[in-house]
Symmetry: C2
Subunit: 357 residues, 2 copies
């Protein structure tokens, strides 16, 4: 029954059976080239810092707005939606967790790709959701046709993680076409780096929820802000779960900082362009080193070398103070997931890789 | 089946049945005397503001420490515990929610007072926990002897909410004595304002979890930081749930601000003394106005007037721009819960009440 490391008699039955998600290492040493958790190498807009400083005041004694009205209005305006179509949470992980409870727990199984964000199966275990994985094709792509099977709901990231491969909006529209009765959640954590957003499909699909994070493209991983855009009926379901869990998920600095981030489109677009440019350079250089690099629409690349095992390469990079992510999972254990860093970080990575090969 | 306001066919069965917690009103008008959500009238330590300002930087692009090691070390040092006996979360509501899943969901029912924190039954509904309420005695006190019945686990606030009445540590020790096999959670949200903490009992009781918030006595409601102290085995259960839900619950500003708050004992003690002094003055003045005021060890008082219904009084105060909290619940519908404010706020409240009576 128990898979716990140290279960004791006071644990609930459920907690004994959990197998938690394992996030990428957050090392406490400095001087590492940290390309393992898809952080943005360029900082957030300076307006975010100004907004947070303004909140560092006596008003911290007061609760934040539990409905985050100002932030939801700003997000609605940014995405051409109405505030009641917007939900915010403590990072997109919290938003997704609430979506699992509110929308993805149905009588028929939840479908998601066999290779995808590792938190999906963790939430299924936590919330007792029956899941069925749908294999990626041999090129590690999501095939919409493979989802034509009995389903209670569907979730996938677009671009997918950790492959970085994106579906086009037309493909997502086709999936929605064949599943009008099932909630479909698209996790767009990385979409700003080069994929097509599904948000325009929300207006005509009351079953579509699009989840976003400010951690990646907005460079605010340290602030914890995620959100979802969808039909007001879906958002109401998320609100009900949130108000049954934690009324005040976003503090004052987080709400103010997130609003400020949305006000600096120039910084945002420049940061995206730099990441995309560097991704191209990294992809070309890795290819020259003999790597097979999947086509990425994210701020990371997923690559394997025909001559070297992924775990080995990751360990040898770590010995040279370069962190990348390796997943010891079927089908992808030969790959490395490498965050797109600064020009200098790419150079250090490439030099370290050249020494490994 | 459905109790929802606007259920739709995409909602999970669970979300249709939820009855979320309703927090105190967070008004968007200014110039209100806001005595309805137990916020501290005195701001946080200036060191907190300094620490948050220092985090308003380029480093926001990086994830926070998912294990919050620095904060857990600071809390451990403050409370004379070890870091592995400390868990932190996004407000004590998140900590409590995880405790419901990890520890309080047992085969036998969870016991808590019939009059207590309104989130307890909301979490039971969300997590499918069978609960049994234990009536307060006729003076609205928790009687430990009444908990001598079959139980899977026990939770109560100390001081209790919304009564403000505290149990002594000896009474909690007696309860632990008779329930060595059940998890016992004590929510000490208000304990700093005049009750005895149960933390010294943690060393000898592997089933005791004490939950705290920085929202009240540390005046940091706007930052969202809560924590728990307990045996390392209980903490490990909370960590497993947290890592199955959201790896990074506390952002960088929250972690840094919370550490700074613990470093300013002078500010903390002065703020507590001022609240306690003002609570005494408020209690005496309300008594002179004919109110029956329960003995409070919290930063609020719970009071009723023999001649006036609670709902009516609350509405008449609101018409005079004074917010207090009223609960339309059996046994306490005649009471008002009034936060202890500043000297000036107390004067405005008393003048408004005098006009009502």
């Amino acid at each position: 029954m128990s898979t716990g490391t140290n279960p004791n008699r006071f644990w609930s039955r459920l907690v004994r059976e959990l197998r938690p998600y394992v996030p990428g290492e957050q090392p406490r040493m400095s001087n590492l080239v940290k390309l393992n958790t898809n952080e943005n190498p360029f900082g957030p807009s300076p307006r975010v810092s100004d907004a947070i400083r303004a909140e560092a005041a006596e008003t911290l004694r007061l609760y934040p707005d539990p409905e985050a009205v100002a932030l939801r209005q700003a997000l609605a305006a940014y995405h051409g939606a109405r505030p009641e179509q917007v939900f915010v949470g403590n990072g997109s992980d919290e938003v997704l967790a609430h979506a699992f409870v509110a929308l993805l727990k149905q009588d028929a199984p939840l479908l998601f790709p066999d290779i995808t964000y590792g938190f999906f199966p963790a939430w299924c275990r936590l919330f007792g959701i029956e899941a069925e994985t749908v294999p990626l094709d041999s090129a590690l792509r999501i095939r919409i046709a493979d989802y034509a099977r009995p389903a209670g709901a569907i979730i996938f990231p677009n671009p997918n993680a950790p492959t970085g491969i994106a579906l086009g909006r037309a493909e997502i529209a086709a999936l929605l076409q064949t599943h009008p009765g099932q909630p479909v959640v698209v996790d767009e954590a990385y979409v700003d780096f080069g994929a097509e957003t599904a948000i325009p499909l929300v207006a005509s699909h009351p079953n579509l929820l699009v989840v976003r994070t400010m951690s990646k493209s907005r460079a605010l991983a340290g602030l914890r802000v995620g959100y979802a855009i969808g039909d007001a009926g879906l958002i109401e379901a998320l609100v009900r779960v949130k108000d049954s869990f934690n009324s005040y998920p976003l503090g004052r600095p987080a709400q103010a900082g997130a609003v400020a981030a949305l006000e600096d489109e120039t910084h945002f677009q420049r940061s995206l362009a730099l990441v995309i440019e560097e991704r191209d350079r990294l992809t070309q250089a890795l290819t020259r080193l003999g790597f097979e690099v999947l086509p990425s629409a994210a701020n990371f690349v997923f690559a394997r070398h025909p001559a070297r095992a992924g775990a080995e390469l990751a360990a040898e990079l770590r010995a040279q103070a370069v962190l990348v992510r390796h997943f010891a999972r079927p089908r992808i254990s030969d790959y490395l997931r490498i965050t797109v860093g600064t020009n200098t970080q790419t150079d250090v990575l490439l030099a370290a890789l050249a020494r490994c090969l």
